[in-house]
Symmetry: C2
């Protein structure tokens, strides 16, 4: 496939083409880039069955999940196309000259956002469509006017190639330079590292592990010209289950929690890995309800063997920790390959406080329930949490005062705060923030979901004293 | 003075107070923070004579320049207060729930920008008021809701203390927690490095040398929790003097150039250190006009001895370079202490191309004129320039085609592009961008002048499913 590259020379060529495409591509009318995104969406839709089959073959995700993700991917591309229909996307500003102002005249001033340059996008293992080749990072960068070089995730090369084919065909159909999109394939860390170090790459978007995101950020910072890295890395997505809600809604909350914890074998960045509540008879009932549900949960196949192994190791580590006990484990009667057997651990506030390891993510359907002596401990522990993608309040009207105490603490630590919902299921919409302070992401000022994701690939430029026929805005 | 700190324990205490003040401060109504900024502006105005005297005593800036800078400082504070009068400053967004949507209901979604946390601001040597204690970085961070800890510049401690007194008195008058503002004093790099490394600091704003900005960025990136650094560092602010303009406006352009080059002894970040034009008789006339003006320019006293010494070294280095000649030097009949004697060097395109050193800033009134064989060389050299705060086109209607070729290249390399003006004199206004790709700044996505400067200290938060009485927006 033209547009697919591997090896050092191939990566070099992909970057060279992206750099060559940048100026012509960014100068296309907004309508052209919108047409390109819509054509890509149409082609993904047309290739839908093939894409769903590839996702299922390469990732062990269910057909329903693959179809939902395809819908989302198509919708994201169309959302960014719609965004370009409104010139406000580039934040144009204008202030006319005041030639007679004293002591000095004011020049005519205009500004707008311009694209930052070619973007390296890393395919995510857990979202082979929506956060990979033609996913949200690619869609937002292309909308901004940035050529994209995708590093294909080694776990789903065929899915990546199919999606890349759709983007490349749409680019050709729209009359765009071919370097506007490229796909880099290859095993190991080296191709991605080489891509991030290439002087023609101007920004990086990544969804994956903290180790991976940190490694890429280190490379980006050490370049002669450092570049921004938008790495979405890790989060335990704390849920604060407040007393009145716990008392009134035990069964409902338990069902919602277990469903969110186990959806897609827990392979969501927003998986609720941590739940905090106040000790007492209501919590005992909740524990029993959760245990009853989890013990009936069957094992699910994980994305690939490496992820399943990491899950088993993470679970084993928690199992061996003193003062952490296992509340409930799911079933695996048929020995599912690469299995995620759901598990909920429990501990007390003092142990959680004293064990930093418990604040780290175990990727998969592993939950930790922390029983606190009193409401004040919820507030205390909230202040110990590192940056998160989400934080959730499960609260009833009687919990208002406690919710009011917690809210400002969560606001400082999370990109999204959910009230009486669950963190999985990220709406692609205007106010969405899928981001959060470090280590949830490498850059807590940004979101990787929703229209605000385009801001990651823009920078402002001011034009002073320009005649109208030369001013670009 | 309460609110002034020194030594490791003092810096620790300043950060502790800032962290303690963050939550109460950020939860103040916008009107309270606006009143605080206006009260600070009023107090600076009331202390104006004392401030101007301190600036003059500590920096050798002229009285006119000190007064202009005071006006600007006062106006910046009022501009951010005015910004807070419009709730749009926090970019609030709202999307109502769609409970009946299929296949899944849409939750109610709101978002707004929230302050990032306590900000460390470094006083700049060349702007003792407008980019220092109560300058634009402080004003924008305080407007956002971030407490500020200023590292006082050692070159103007009394000015810093006076300005800090105004901020602290305004904070007390407005009923704000005292930790909302602190001043750290001390010699050498260690206090600033300690401040940036403090875990309670959430962002850094700096205006100064590339070495200084790079050192702080390295510290910030190496923290357990890395933080953004907004360092405005270095720029040669290229001026492209196009052929028709050169032919028609020799005297006017020469006068504008020399005035911009020598203003305030060239101690502006936007000083036009580089001018490129096409060789020929018109350029010979321009050279002669520039030489005539520069040779009459008297030496000016620089901000302090260290800066004057760095200027002398930089000029000596250029003087010694082969294929770089001295076009003109100013006069210094009276032996001004810490003198900046203006100088304009000249070279050819090939030498400029082959000598990366010539792309580096010499802070002060040192200009380099590059004579190019043809228009294409202007275009070639434009592509070799690193990131800049500004780029300027001096052009006549006959230069439109060449201007159109250069504009996209300059747009990729500069935060502000000026048409038939000069880069010095930065308007504080909505569309202003005082920023630019690395190494002009450490973060080319931002501006340190104008209302958009507040964005540096904000991050978005989404609220999902919140009842109205609990939702903060």
């Amino acid at each position: 496939m033209s547009g697919e590259f591997s090896g050092p020379a191939g990566i070099e060529e992909a970057c060279r083409r992206a750099a060559a495409a940048f100026d012509p591509y960014r100068r296309t009318p907004d309508a052209t880039r919108a047409a390109f995104l819509r054509a890509t969406a149409d082609r993904l839709r047309a290739a839908g069955e093939e894409l769903v089959a590839a996702v299922r073959a390469e990732t062990a995700l269910t057909e329903a999940r693959a179809r939902t993700e395809l819908d989302r991917t198509v919708n994201q591309l169309r959302m960014f196309a719609d965004l370009l229909d409104d010139p406000a996307w580039a934040s144009p500003k204008r202030l006319p000259a005041l030639p007679d102002r004293r002591p000095a005249p004011r020049p005519d001033l205009r500004s707008r956002s311009v694209p930052i340059g070619p973007v390296a996008v890393f395919g995510a293992s857990n979202f082979p469509l929506a956060f990979s080749t033609a996913g949200g990072d690619t869609a937002s960068a292309l909308a901004a006017g940035c050529p994209v070089v995708v590093k294909s995730h080694p776990a789903h090369p065929r899915t990546a190639r199919l999606a890349a084919g759709c983007v490349l065909a749409a680019a050709a159909e729209t009359g765009l330079p071919e370097g506007v999109f490229g796909l880099v394939v290859g095993e190991g860390n080296e191709p991605g590292e080489r891509l991030v170090a290439d002087p023609r790459i101007a920004a990086v978007a990544f969804t994956g592990s903290r180790a991976g995101g940190t490694a890429l950020t280190t490379i980006a910072n050490a370049r002669p010209v450092p570049i921004p890295v938008y790495a979405e890395m890790s989060s335990v997505n704390p849920v604060f289950l407040l007393p009145s809600r716990l008392a009134a809604g035990t069964a409902e909350v338990a069902a919602g929690y277990v469903a969110s914890l186990t959806a897609s074998a827990g392979q969501f960045c927003t998986n609720p890995g941590l739940l905090l509540a106040v000790e007492g008879p209501h919590l005992d009932r909740f524990r029993a309800a959760v245990a009853g549900l989890v013990e009936k949960q069957p094992a699910q196949r994980m994305l690939h063997a490496g992820i399943a192994q990491a899950y088993r190791l993470g679970v084993a580590e928690l199992t061996d920790l003193p003062a952490v006990t296992t509340l409930a484990v799911g079933t695996d009667p048929h020995g599912v390959p690469d299995a995620c057997v759901p598990v909920v651990f429990q501990t007390d506030a003092a142990t959680f406080h004293a064990t930093p390891r418990l604040r780290d993510e175990v990727f998969g359907a592993s939950g930790l329930l922390v029983a606190c002596p009193a409401e004040d401990d919820l507030v205390e522990l909230a202040q110990e949490l590192p940056g998160q993608l989400t934080a959730t309040l499960q609260a009833a009207p009687g919990d208002r005062d406690l919710a009011r105490r917690l809210l400002p603490l969560l606001e400082r630590r999370a990109g999204r705060i959910i009230y009486n919902g669950w963190p999985t299921g990220v709406e692609v919409a205007g106010p969405m923030v899928h981001g959060g302070p470090y280590p949830a992401t490498a850059d807590g000022r940004s979101t990787s979901v929703g229209p605000m994701a385009i801001d990651r690939f823009l920078r402002p430029v001011c034009y002073q004293g320009f005649p109208d026929d030369l001013a670009p805005c």
